[in-house]
């Protein structure tokens, strides 16, 4: 199995604070696998994702992509080409249409494709967004629809690493299932590395590996999470319940 991302003694502290949000994290994420990362709110899940997605760099230690230190790579390029991120808050251009969001992302990533717009409609259709909805500005879409646009955007440039921060939060069971199928498909059939932060048992069940994040420590929980193993999760700090 080819290694996509390696975290080596990765530590992160937000500027101006003392608390180590991540401390001495060691982990390896392979291509061809789908990972679930679980943890309480405030455990540092989003922080972890921001490091592996090249939005920020580790305070100590390293994050390696394809064997190269991310802090030394051109991270704009890394974000544009190698990684697709589905943000917790979607982070779409709110006044632009769904289709424009996707096409813009493809342009930024330098996607070489003659019919970008047609491809974008297709990507949106895959996540259940029809053409009429795709032509509406993001602000005129429901939360679930926005989330799906976010997913389509993350996949639009065919990245090696797909990172999702609680992607199913706003999805109904049916859509969630479809989306997970897509994630599994690109992991297993297209040899991508998919990392999903989630609270959902269903999502965790789809993953090949489950990791728990607790007090800055990332630990391997289980190969193929199968419900119910709640006690096991509790022990490792991963939980399926997010306290309000």
């Amino acid at each position: 199995m080819k290694k996509a991302l390696i975290l080596e003694k990765t530590t992160y502290t937000y500027p101006g604070t003392k608390k180590k949000v991540l401390s001495n994290v060691n982990a390896t994420f392979d291509k061809g696998k789908m990972y679930a990362v679980m943890g309480k709110s405030g455990a540092g899940k989003t922080t972890l994702l921001s490091l592996v997605s090249g939005l920020d760099t580790a305070t100590e230690g390293r994050v390696l992509y394809d064997g190269q230190d991310l802090s030394k790579l051109n991270r704009d390029h890394y974000r544009a080409r190698s990684v697709g991120v589905i943000f917790q808050g979607y982070n779409l251009l709110n006044n632009a249409t769904a289709i424009d969001n996707i096409v813009l992302s493809m342009n930024i990533s330098g996607v070489k494709c003659k019919k970008k717009k047609a491809k974008a409609y297709e990507l949106l259709a895959n996540v259940g967004i029809d053409k009429e909805t795709a032509d509406r500005p993001i602000l005129k879409l429901s939360g679930g629809e926005q989330q799906r646009v976010g997913i389509a955007r993350a996949l639009a440039h065919n990245p090696d690493v797909v990172i999702a921060d609680e992607p199913s939060g706003n999805l109904d069971a049916e859509t969630e299932k479809n989306i997970m199928q897509i994630f599994q498909d690109i992991a297993h059939n297209e040899d991508k590395c998919v990392i999903i932060v989630t609270h959902s048992k269903n999502v965790a069940e789809c993953a090949d590996e489950v990791w728990g994040l607790n007090k800055g420590n990332l630990t391997f929980v289980k190969e193929k999470y199968v419900f119910p193993h709640a006690h096991e999760l509790e022990e490792k700090g991963a939980t399926s319940k997010e306290p309000a």
Partner: protein, 453 residues
């Protein structure tokens, strides 16, 4: 390329904000464009007049200085009289490398042999009955230009020893073009001149009433002026000369003055350009320029502040946009180019509308501004008008005599002004996008994630 497309689409996506910015840009552009259009027209007029007034030199007796240096205007018992500039000196003065043009008006008193002057008196002792006037100056032909004098028969003198005479004089003596007349210069120097043309004189008409009460005197009747070229009178000897010099370059005034003094011009003659005349004509235009410039600067500063304020208020939106684009992997520079493109496109639209509005509006605005300034100038005490002290021969630029302020300014948009307006518009576009650019450089995309959580 997609950056441009996206920037243009962004204009439509944020209609509210861009409409507001657009309105403000439009106001600023119209105001500055009008100011610049008026200013550039005013500038070219000012330059033109500066060249003209700055180059016309006058020689004036500085009365105070003359007395201080021990000269008396009336040559008294124990003082020397003020030296007058002789005709010969005037001709020498004009022969200078600094001079572009020297206009002379020379005259000599004459008597006629076998001819009768108009308004003649029966006085055998009277030695002079008319003037021979020779000129290369504009204001002689001005009489002709203004049609106060008009050639009605024959042609203007061209060659040496040709002259033109008045209609009344010609009729009185039964003269026609081609005839020769004999004039007496001084005591008994007789000289022959050939009549090339006959002019009608209307310069006397206005003074007609007053003339009735005056004693008849052929010397006072302009119909007894025999007009000839400068060369002719130079050869015959001019008694009285006035000269107007214009310099090739107004900056040569000092050098020219030094040269004149070397040639014998007494130090109590002031060599000056016609500043007062210049002020009288161009003053209102200059003041108008000051008003429009001040106005433009105020509008630009206020406008820039308002634009900065709006973009500060809209920065939340902008910050988010920066975060999203950067998170997608767009480089800082490209985000910046996108924002600037957006503002330049908006500014360009405002520029087109603004230029057409100002093209129509600047003429009436210029008119009313200039009218205002002329009024102000007229109400102001006229302490700065020069009074020429004429002692015998004098030279002076004729301009200040009839120096009326410029009352019309036909404004137009020239190339330079258009470039200036476009540059200012680009500056405005940059000002409107500067806040965004500041954030692009200081803002890490990570912040969005944490702020959104």
């Amino acid at each position: 390329m997609y950056i441009i497309t996206n920037a243009l689409k962004n204009l439509g996506r944020n209609k509210g904000r861009n409409f507001l910015i657009g309105i403000i840009l439009l106001v600023i552009i119209v105001a500055t464009a009008i100011a610049i259009i008026i200013n550039s027209t005013a500038s070219s007029i000012i330059d033109d007049y500066k060249g003209r007034f700055g180059s016309e030199v006058s020689l004036n007796l500085d009365y105070d200085k003359a007395i201080n240096e021990g000269n008396f205007v009336d040559s008294g018992e124990n003082g020397k009289g003020v030296e007058e500039i002789t005709p010969k000196q005037y001709f020498e003065f004009g022969d200078s490398k600094y001079i572009k043009e020297a206009q002379y008006n020379a005259s000599s008193m004459i008597n006629f042999k076998d001819l009768k002057p108009v308004d003649d008196v029966d006085d055998p002792d009277l030695m002079v009955r008319g003037y021979l006037i020779g000129s290369n100056a504009k204001n002689i032909s001005d009489d002709f230009k203004k049609e106060a004098r008009k050639i009605i028969d024959g042609a203007m003198y061209r060659q040496e020893n040709e002259c033109i005479v008045s209609q009344q004089f010609a009729e009185l003596n039964k003269l026609k073009p081609g005839d020769e007349i004999e004039i007496i210069l001084g005591k008994d120097r007789v000289h022959k001149l050939k009549i090339s043309g006959i002019f009608e004189d209307n310069t006397m008409v206005s003074g007609g009433d007053a003339a009735q009460f005056m004693e008849k005197n052929p010397m006072l009747n302009r119909n007894n002026e025999i007009l000839t070229g400068l060369d002719t009178i130079k050869k015959l000897g001019a008694e009285n000369v006035t000269a107007a010099f214009s310099l090739k370059n107004p900056d040569d005034l000092k050098a020219f003055t030094a040269q004149l003094q070397k040639k014998g011009l007494p130090s109590y003659y002031k060599v000056a350009t016609d500043e007062a005349g210049y002020k009288a004509v161009v003053g209102p235009v200059e003041n108008m320029k000051k008003v429009t410039t001040t106005f433009m600067i105020v509008v630009l500063i206020l406008g820039a502040i308002i634009l900065l304020l709006i973009s500060t208020l809209a920065i939340r939106e902008r910050k988010y946009e920066i975060g999203v684009l950067r998170a997608m992997g767009m480089k800082k520079g490209k985000v910046g180019i996108g924002f600037v493109t957006e503002m330049i496109a908006l500014t360009f639209a405002c520029l087109i509308i603004g230029l057409s509005v100002s093209a129509f509006a600047s003429q009436p605005i210029a008119d009313s501004l200039l009218k205002n300034q002329i009024q102000i100038a007229e109400e102001a005490p006229t302490g700065n008008t020069v009074s020429h002290l004429d002692f015998g021969a004098s030279a002076g630029a004729p301009a200040s005599d009839d120096a009326k302020p410029l009352s019309e300014l036909s404004v137009h948009l020239d190339f330079d002004a258009a470039i200036q307006i476009i540059l200012i518009a680009i500056m405005l576009a940059i000002v409107s996008s500067i806040m965004g650019i500041v954030y692009i450089t200081r803002y890490e995309p990570m912040k969005i994630l944490s702020e959104r959580n």
